[in-house]
């Protein structure tokens, strides 16, 4: 009796220790960096390196008194639209190209060409096609974010196990079922990898797209602050951008772990785990 309580206690405390260790691992470096930044700038009189304290003081007033709605929300909406469009286009084209060796041979050089063009230099060209509104900014995001998704999808579709393909054929899977359960599911680990890379590219391009012909947005605000010599506000914007990046990648991980749970399970059993 007493021994079981002891075991329970021990496992509880060891769980607590493991948890604390993990928290320390995750939060340790950020805390060290923040403290270093704070100390290094504490007595700074340099105009361009304001104390971290000043930056944090203006943070609330800068972003939570109106700008969340007028600048941050439009940016995130464009980011969401561009990212979603890149996903749909990338996966659709990727599946088509991955499924057909002929098509692949035809389009691969062209894809490599477009992939190599940095999206920021496309902005003036995109302005000619899409004008200067939100459409252009979404296109800029798509033009950069689509590549990792597309190329990973092609690879993913191409590398689906031949035995699985034959099996699906033997069982006379219909087109739709084959696409959903064989092609997309088989390629999904790679699609997810591409989508993860695309997310960080999309965030960068969200900022870049707002450097041209913009009237609102997070990147736009940061540049306006820089130009009007509002340096603490500019730094607060950069911090906010970083926080949004962290939040989005966490969100991605949650979605990924839900959607790919089957894959991890499969992986586990294949490796002989239980």
């Amino acid at each position: 009796m007493t021994s079981t309580i002891g075991v329970a206690r021990r496992s509880e405390s060891s769980l607590l220790i493991a948890w604390a260790k993990r928290a320390l691992l995750v939060l340790g470096l950020p805390i060290v960096l923040i403290v270093a930044w704070w100390l290094a700038t504490a007595n700074s009189t340099s105009f361009y390196w304001p104390p971290l304290r000043t930056i944090l003081e203006v943070f609330g007033a800068t972003w939570f008194e109106g700008r969340m709605g007028t600048d941050v929300a439009p940016s995130l909406v464009r980011l969401g639209a561009g990212y979603a469009l890149a996903l749909v286009l990338g996966v659709t084209v990727g599946v088509a190209v991955g499924s057909s060796p002929t098509l692949r041979a035809v389009v691969e050089p062209v894809l490599e060409f477009f992939r190599a063009i940095p999206p920021p230099v496309l902005v003036p060209v995109l302005i000619l096609f899409a004008g200067i509104g939100d459409g252009m900014k979404v296109l800029v995001i798509v033009s950069g974010a689509i590549w990792p998704i597309l190329l990973n999808t092609v690879e993913g579709v191409r590398s689906i196990d031949e035995v699985l393909r034959d099996t699906a054929r033997c069982y006379r899977f219909r087109r739709r079922a084959r696409l959903l359960h064989l092609v997309l599911r088989g390629a999904s680990p790679q699609i997810v990898t591409g989508a993860r890379q695309a997310l960080s590219i999309a965030i960068i391009l969200m900022v870049i797209s707002e450097m041209f012909a913009a009237t609102n947005g997070l990147g736009f605000s940061i540049i306006q602050f820089q130009r009007s010599f509002a340096i603490p506000q500019m730094f607060s914007g950069i911090i906010l951008l970083g926080l949004i990046g962290v939040a989005l990648s966490l969100l991605f991980r949650v979605v990924e772990s839900r959607a790919m749970a089957w894959h991890r399970g499969l992986h586990h059993t294949q490796r002989g785990g239980n």
Binding site: I127, L128, I132, A213, Q224, R227, F229, I231
Partner: protein, 318 residues
């Protein structure tokens, strides 16, 4: 131990300071010219400094010029404050904004000014040929392209729209680089665009109409830009600042008196072709600063919310 380290550090800093001091003095004593870097934008407005450099006005005063071109006030002003540039060229509204943020800048001499002629100035608002906008008041409620938001372009446009009886609060300004504006106007992507030379000549040759003259109408002697330095340089090397200002003034006067020379020099540092250079309207290049016009821009900046508090015009001007 700690103490010796600190003493050594202080010693090193003192030696560095001494080295800096002696090199400054040495240069002005005739050990060779002072190397000076000026931050500016490669546009029509800065023709005088290129002319003056060519004519030897700076070399005569022991100054060896390096002209560093950049994006505009937003990059020039930090360069001047950090000491990367000894002098810089920036528009007055940028300077006023910088002043309210406490940047230690001081205007030395005028950069360029409006011609004061509303029908022939070096900047204005143009609309496509078939636009229904007839005058400045018609810009209310329209999309107007400017090269930089919350700066001298939009603040003077708001002013002329108000003067013409329109409402400036519903003009939608968008940012476009000047070189992209002729295409944007021609294709009707914007309702109007604020352009300066050579783009004013280029767009009007393409058929665009000018509907507002935002500089001349804001103030007939509006000083648009100025040459500045940091307070630090004024304190550490007043002689250099004095010689630069004199050379700059001589250059401005030379450009003002020899417009053909000014047109010729454009071809050396811009991509402006000869025909356009011949036709474009040059700004005026007086040497005196029109304080009244700077105050006007300060009031407008305050009125339009470009600055948090009232700029201290006296602190900025010499």
């Amino acid at each position: 131990m700690k103490r010796t380290v600190r003493t050594a550090a202080v010693g090193a800093v003192l030696m560095l300071l001494a080295a800096c001091g002696s090199s400054d003095e040495g240069a002005s004593n005739g050990d060779g010219p002072d190397a000076v870097t000026v931050g500016l934008i490669p546009i029509v407005d800065v023709a005088p400094i290129y002319l003056g450099d060519e004519q030897g006005f700076f070399a005569d005063r022991g100054i060896e010029l390096t002209l560093e071109t950049g994006q505009g006030g937003a990059s020039t002003i930090p360069g001047v404050v950090s000491g990367q540039f000894q002098f810089g060229f920036a528009n007055v509204t940028s300077l006023l904004i910088a002043q309210t943020k406490g940047l230690p800048l001081k205007v030395l001499t005028a950069g360029n000014s409006t011609t004061g002629d509303e029908d022939a100035d070096f900047g204005g608002v143009v609309v496509p040929e078939d636009s229904d906008i007839e005058d400045a008041a018609g810009l209310a409620g329209k999309t107007v392209a400017v090269n930089q938001l919350n700066n001298i372009g939009d603040t003077t446009i708001r002013e002329v729209v108000d003067q013409a009886g329109g409402d400036h609060s519903d003009i939608k300004f968008v940012e476009l680089p000047f070189p992209d504006m002729p295409a944007a106007v021609e294709e009707g992507r914007v309702d109007a665009a604020w352009v300066v030379e050579p783009f004013l000549t280029i767009t009007t040759k393409q058929g665009a109409r000018q509907v507002a003259s935002n500089f001349a109408a804001t103030h007939t002697e509006l000083m648009v830009a100025a040459y500045v330095t940091s307070r630090e340089l004024i304190e550490s090397n007043p002689d250099l600042v004095k010689r630069f200002t004199e050379a700059m003034n001589e250059s401005l006067t030379y450009a003002q008196e020899n417009p053909d020379e000014a047109r010729r020099i454009l071809g050396t540092y811009t991509e402006i072709d000869e025909d356009t250079a011949k036709d474009l309207t040059l700004p005026r290049w007086p040497t005196e600063i029109n304080v009244d016009s700077v105050q006007r821009l300060a009031d407008l900046a305050n009125q339009h919310g470009l600055v948090d508090g009232e700029p201290d015009v006296r602190a900025l001007l010499p």
